[in-house]
């Protein structure tokens, strides 16, 4: 009896201990994340150094996969495509997103409603909206071609997804369509934290709208721009769904991204090792993007007089 009692107090004392209880509370999340996130991250890196195929465990081959991929024209093309896709799409998403955010920040009727419908492209499944784009880009029945024909701007239907450069720009356009709402709505949240008195003071000092934007809006918005663009670059660089649905990497591999190529090599082709190497090769680029934004962000925070953390 007394043994049980002391046992209970020991248990309840342990549960009152913040470290014990804290670790206990962390257990479910930590188990799932360690098992299905941290471990696969390591396993993926390891697989990249082996010649594993689906259904056959491989042996360590060192950097052979990377050496092969470095000499592989398709992989090089995919790297170029990924960088081009990320660069062009991110810049346009930023410009259009900022513009849309500034428009939505004006005093408008039905502002909340507008904000709600603007975000729609971002919340519906990308794979499904990509199917709509597939139909919009159809080589024979494209509505864009139809409209341009009627306006007399073109004389034959555009083969949006059949020519390398046309396909690149078509997929970029679809990516921009999906990404602009995210950039706009998050930047709008940033804009709403800027006090109107700054603008009143600036316009009393005779600042033009452009000067107000350049010297009031932009500096105050920089921290949130850095975060939003990091996410945007990250999502774009690792994009998969849109390309998989629209072109599967074609024509002539001209729209293959690193992610779609690694899927093709690893899952469709069965070479898990080679696919894992392609996926691992994306990590340095992602780290670079995160670090650039992190340090950019810190500098800005310091400039605005934020306390050292």
């Amino acid at each position: 009896m007394t043994v049980l009692a002391t046992h209970q107090t020991a248990l309840s004392r342990a549960l009152d201990n913040r470290t014990v209880l804290g670790l206990l509370f962390m257990l479910p999340a930590a188990t799932l994340l360690l098992l299905f996130l941290t471990y696969p991250l390591g396993l993926g890196t390891y697989l990249g150094f082996t010649d594993t195929k689906i259904g056959r465990s491989g042996v360590w081959v060192g950097i052979e996969n990377y050496q092969y991929l470095w000499g592989d024209a398709v992989t090089r093309l995919a790297l170029f495509n990924t960088l081009f896709y990320t660069f062009v799409a991110s810049i346009i998403k930023f410009a259009l997103g900022l513009w849309l955010a500034l428009l939505l920040n004006k005093h408008l009727p039905f502002k909340a409603f507008l904000r709600a419908i603007v975000l729609l492209p971002f919340i519906v499944p990308t794979a499904l909206s990509a199917i709509a784009f597939w139909w919009i880009y159809d080589s024979q029945f494209s509505i864009i071609s139809w409209a341009l024909m009627r306006m007399g701007l073109i004389h034959e239907y555009i083969d949006f997804l059949g020519q390398p450069w046309a396909a690149r720009f078509s997929t970029i356009a679809a990516n921009i369509w999906r990404g602009v709402p995210f950039v706009a709505i998050t930047l709008l949240a940033g804009l709403q934290t800027i006090s109107p008195s700054f603008y009143e003071a600036a316009s009393l000092d005779g600042a033009s709208p452009w000067q107000q934007f350049r010297y009031v809006t932009l500096p105050l918005l920089t921290p949130i721009i850095a975060v939003v663009m990091t996410f945007s670059v990250l999502f774009t660089f690792t994009d998969f769904q849109l390309i998989y649905v629209l072109t599967r990497g074609g024509p002539l591999n001209s729209t293959h991204l690193m992610a779609t190529l690694s899927f093709q090599r690893a899952i469709s082709g069965g070479s898990l090792g080679e696919g894992a190497a392609i996926a691992t090769a994306m990590v340095p680029f992602l780290l670079a993007a995160i670090l650039i934004s992190y340090f950019g962000l810190q500098r800005r925070a310091w400039q605005q007089g934020a306390a050292d953390k």
Partner: protein, 307 residues
């Protein structure tokens, strides 16, 4: 006269009664004349909205068009002359679409609840128990959020094979939390931080245990945060594509996005009507859920970015 009207329209009741309108950050907007405002604000905004919504309109109109109208270059393509429900009927009764819908619901709901459960405990632990090293755990949760699925799907596929989970819903239910838990934990940490610590201290003095505090005090106060996290997690798992594409191969276990993309496209003949109907019905549930909880969704989105 005209000028007065313009400036009144520009100020739009905000400053009319002399009370400052704080939500309108362009405080001197009423100085801009109406025609200029139309050109610089309403026209671009209209173009944005039309472009952003057109694909949805196009999905809906295509789903209702008979094949003859779909595959014709004559007539007005923006409207449907003889609407038909044939595509929708085909989708619902001749394909496995209802199965896919059911799978998507099961997987999304289960993984959402699993993730919220784990995230509530983890966020409370990191934010309030502040055990030794909790700051680093918080940091690593944020880093986990930045790991994209396109890097993880290959090793995860190898694991799913090994664990005999290939082609099961459980494979998705267990892997979706890898991107849901970091996001939800991060979001909930922000909400928990805003709850005054004094409330908790009072309860501790009154003899409440930590678990009682979490259930009776913290959770009721964090309901908006829980809704945000729940909506977000549900939408993210509904929209997930690459894991479902990799880990599932039988038609009856597929989710809607994967099913529509892989099963409705047969050979060279595309059934555009059914495809669009499938895309539309797959988008509607998240769109409807979103329309009820827009504010929560937006605050979740912007909160996660701002933190």
């Amino acid at each position: 006269m005209n000028d007065v009207k313009n400036s009144a329209a520009g100020a739009a009741a905000g400053n009319a009664e002399g009370k400052p309108e704080l939500t309108d950050s362009m405080g001197m907007n009423y100085l801009v004349s109406l025609p200029k405002r139309v050109v610089s604000v309403y026209v671009p905004l209209f173009v944005f909205v039309v472009v952003l919504l057109f694909p949805f309109y196009w999905m809906a109109i295509t789903a209702l068009k008979p094949d003859a109208e779909l595959l014709s270059r004559e007539g007005n393509p923006f409207w449907v002359q003889n609407p038909t429900l044939a595509h929708i009927k085909k989708l619902l009764f001749e394909t496995a679409y209802p199965d896919w819908l059911w799978n998507t619901i099961v997987v999304s709901v289960t993984s959402t609840f699993l993730s919220i459960f784990c995230s509530v405990l983890a966020a409370y632990s990191i934010e309030r128990l502040r055990f030794r090293g909790s700051r680093y755990v918080g940091m690593s949760i944020f880093l986990a959020y930045l790991v994209p699925p396109s890097i993880l799907f290959i090793p995860l596929a190898a694991m799913v094979y090994k664990l005999n989970l290939f082609d099961t819903r459980l494979a998705l239910i267990l892997t979706y939390p890898t991107f849901l838990i970091p996001f939800c934990t991060w979001l909930l940490m922000g909400y928990f931080k805003s709850i005054p610590i004094e409330l908790e201290e009072c309860a501790l003095i009154d003899g409440a245990s930590r678990l009682q505090i979490l259930i009776r005090i913290i959770l009721p106060l964090a309901v908006p945060g829980l809704i945000s996290a729940g909506i977000f997690a549900f939408t993210l798992s509904w929209n997930e594509f690459i894991y479902a594409l990799t880990f599932i191969s039988s038609s009856e276990v597929k989710t809607v996005p994967v099913g529509v993309v892989t099963e409705l496209v047969e050979g060279d003949v595309y059934h555009w009507g059914s495809l669009m109907a499938g895309a539309l019905f797959g988008s509607l549930p998240v769109a409807i859920l979103y329309s009820f909880f827009v504010e929560y969704y937006v605050s979740g989105l912007t909160g996660a970015v701002k933190e």
